[in-house]
């Protein structure tokens, strides 16, 4: 008999203090509030923002730091690399001048390679993510909303895309693109490679999101508010944009925040396999490739791109998780 009496005032107290605050909050504000309370999410967001800032401000960093990612310091200046092409100073040549050391053999500055490498990775990944998301939204909603034959055909295309061996295809297809589009006596322009990679990553990336959204739309199509809109004579466009889409933002946001790190790793993996950006463009994947060959003599060179990619991908994934938690606190993992 004692328990109810002891708890009653407490409940009262909380309801009194919270009552005025709980008035008039949009789902977005609620989400923001929940997100801010999630420490992991905030830290991850800070790291992600930092990476973006570094990418955007790369030329400024270069200016302040006094090095660029293209000069072959180790080759131009004797005494930095030994006869085998490895840095003479310990820890991969880390010094007050070269903060993260110098690249084996070619002798470029690792810090600058890393900073400019973020640009390459992020640029390709962000553009591919945006395109992927857009295509995924359009196709997914069309399939789900139209149903019938349209749904059937789109469904089969999605199946095909999901079952396609994409890495193999990209490896095989990139040289073909070069051969078709580049005159035989000209260099493959850097932008062409970037565009090819972006397009190929997009082409193979949209199917997952589209299938997810199709399912969501399918379950919502028969709900009362959609029926009501239909009865009042709303056009399909209105129903899609005003009734369905607002309810889909959560999965879209979560999916795209998880897609971005996946694409960064995919781009690095492709560079690792030799179909990424050329030698003249700083790139994390290629740094990895080189690092795995020389790690016995220069482990430091493996650490920097490794740790950078690790931090970036984990931060972005945790951010994605936090966003999901903030949107949908009911899901307990």
């Amino acid at each position: 008999m004692t328990t109810p009496t002891s708890t009653a005032p407490e409940i009262d107290a909380t309801s009194v203090t919270e009552a005025p605050e709980a008035v008039g909050r949009s789902p977005g504000q609620l989400m923001w509030l929940r997100f801010r309370r999630d420490r992991t999410g905030v830290i991850s967001a800070a790291i992600v923002i930092l990476f973006f800032l570094v990418a955007i401000l790369a030329p400024v960093i270069s200016l302040v730091y006094g090095k660029d990612p293209y000069t072959l310091y180790g080759q131009d200046r004797p005494g930095l690399l030994n006869d085998f092409g490895y840095a003479m100073a310990p820890n991969g040549g880390i010094s007050s001048e070269f903060w993260f050391g110098i690249e084996p053999n070619l002798g470029r500055d690792v810090f600058m390679q890393l900073v400019y490498g973020i640009r390459t990775s992020l640029l390709i990944a962000v553009v591919a993510t945006i395109l992927t998301t857009l295509i995924g939204i359009v196709v997914g909603i069309i399939a789900g909303y139209a149903g019938g034959k349209t749904d059937f055909f789109i469904g089969r295309i999605i199946d095909l895309m999901l079952s396609f061996p994409q890495v193999l295809f990209i490896i095989a297809f990139t040289p073909v693109v070069d051969q078709l589009l580049v005159p035989s006596n000209e260099e493959t322009p850097v932008w062409l490679r970037a565009v090819t990679l972006t397009i190929l990553l997009t082409v193979f990336g949209w199917a997952g999101l589209a299938r997810l959204l199709r399912g969501q739309v399918l379950s919502m199509r028969e709900r009362e508010f959609v029926e009501a809109a239909k009865v009042t004579g709303a056009s399909p466009a209105r129903i899609v944009f005003k009734e369905l889409l607002p309810n889909l933002w959560t999965p879209i946001l979560i999916q795209s925040t998880l897609l971005l790190p996946a694409l960064v790793t995919a781009e690095a993996a492709l560079s690792f396999l030799g179909v990424g950006m050329g030698e003249q463009v700083p790139d994390w994947g290629r740094m990895f490739l080189r690092a795995t060959q020389v790690y016995q003599n220069d482990i430091t060179y493996l650490i920097f791109p490794g740790v950078a990619l690790l931090i970036f991908v984990i931060a972005f994934n945790l951010l994605g998780d936090s966003v999901r938690d903030a949107f949908d606190p009911k899901i307990k993992r």
Binding site: R39, T40, I43, S44, L72, G74, Q75, L81, N82, D83, F84, G85, Y86, A87, M88, A89, P90, N91, G92, G93, N105, L106, G107, P175, D178, Q179, S184, N185, E186, E187, T188, G274, G278, E279, Q280, L289, Q293, V294, Q296, N297, D298, I299, T300, I303, F304, G306, V307, L310, I311, I314, L318, D321, S322, R333
Partner: protein, 595 residues
Amino acid sequence: MNHRKRSALAVAAAASLALVGACAPGNAGAPSSAPASAGASSAPAAEAYKPPTITLGTAEDSKGPAIPPEGVVKGGTVTMIDRDDFAHFDPAQIYVNTDANFGLLISRGLTGYKRIAKGDYKLVGDLATDAGTPSDGGKTWTFTLKDGVKWQDGSPITSADVKWSVERMFAPFVTFGPNYIQTWLTSEDYKKAYPGPYGGKELDNIETPDDKTVVFKFNSPHADANYAFAMAGYNIVPKAKDTKEKYDKEPVSSGPYIIKSHVVDKSLELARNPNWDAATDPIRGAYPDVWKMEFGQEATQVTDRFVADSGPDQTAFTFYSNTPAERLQQVLGDASLADRRMISPSPYGNYYYFNLDRVKDQKIRQAINYAWPAKQIQQALGGPQAVALPTTILNENTTVGYKPYDLFGKTAKPEGDIEKAKQLLAESSNPHPTIVYAYNNLPTQEPVTLVIKNALEKAGIKVVAKSLDRKTYYDSISQTKNEFDLYWGGWGADWPSGSTVMPIIFGPVSDGGQNMSHLNDPTVKAEMKKISENPDINAANEAWMNLDKQIQETITPLVVAENRIGTFLHGSKVGGAEIDPQQWIVSPNTIFVKQ
């Protein structure tokens, strides 16, 4: 897992990785064996590499047995580990060095190279009693076979077998072997001139007056025909046991061993040939009783196994698995490996050819030669221990009478003389030319390309680096109407003389041909013909060397490229392992197993 815990773990993982990085040692300098003037000489391998001397042996030299290496022990089982199985056993189909090297174990030819001491070789008679007798100014060559040379079934090797072996090389199924002797006996298009012996037709200009004598009558003088016969492709095949195409799988042995078992791409085992007599063979030591070969081992694995040197790997060696660049510092820096290391620059000539149809101004070609970043390329490929910087067209390992010269100041300035290049460009037709540099899209070529581009651009030359697919690279650059200005190509001498290099890389211009610079100069052509037909082989060798310099001076059709240095390891219980400098492969002739 709770996500907070997960992030903590991630941070811990990152931190531990960073810790590992914090104690990585420096790579101060090269090992002490490296020369002080690294990169300066043409062969800056450890302990100043000396190219081999190859001379002509006498009948006395041609008598067996072979000169044994120091501390030789007979018997035991030796293991050979390598990446690839041998593609061919039929001598007529053998051109590749690994196949030729294996051929030493199971087949013999008229002549061969006898090892006198380290780096000292003599061309001697193998089946023949001496290295052949020329007459008629080098047009006729006579060989006499030794007594007591037998096939694996005990039947004697006769001059008819020798004649047959050469004749069958005209047959349509023979597509891979060398073609020197065939063209000398008939004409350039030798397969049309004679269809091979299987239809019953003989080749009249090979005569066999008796069972022991064979006479070759060439259309023009060839003072170096005895060197040509030393190629594994001219090893002999028994007339009575010739199975045409099938012979490639089931060869009959005339050498010290017989193939006991062979699982393609996996393993091979050799046992002794009882009918091989060491007293007739000046070349092959054949010390181990059993040979076991293992294939499918990548170079990195092979290197790691030899470094570890555990158990059965102690009695193992490799024909051709070169230490990869990323293991070099480890292998060369380890003093305990000193007596198990073998080092030799490759015998191949490697060139960056100018396309003379497009880069017409010699001043520009010279300027590029001056600006060439030889040292930087060397560093990008693993340093002076991995790559030598030759300055001549002919390779020191495969040129009798080799004389170095340095036209473009590479000894003084291996990193390139930008000022001199700029000065030459200013005098040229175009002070700011654009050069289309085509390169093979291999991982190792990307950094090299970057280095070349970087250096030439410093001299004011715009470089368009054109990446070519690795499968079609050679097809693309050997098209005569290609749209590139500069590209890499290589060629190896077939015997130590300019006559197997110069007339080929500056020979007929054709699609798919080897003349990639499209050099078509009447004086050079006349000179090459004159030297080829010179009956005095020493004078010819000297003339090749002079022509080498003359071509670079007056035409400059190429930039001499870097030359790879092979570093091979072997197990601690293997003795007599030495790199054959001509074939760039560990010779089986001196191998023995220490007890």
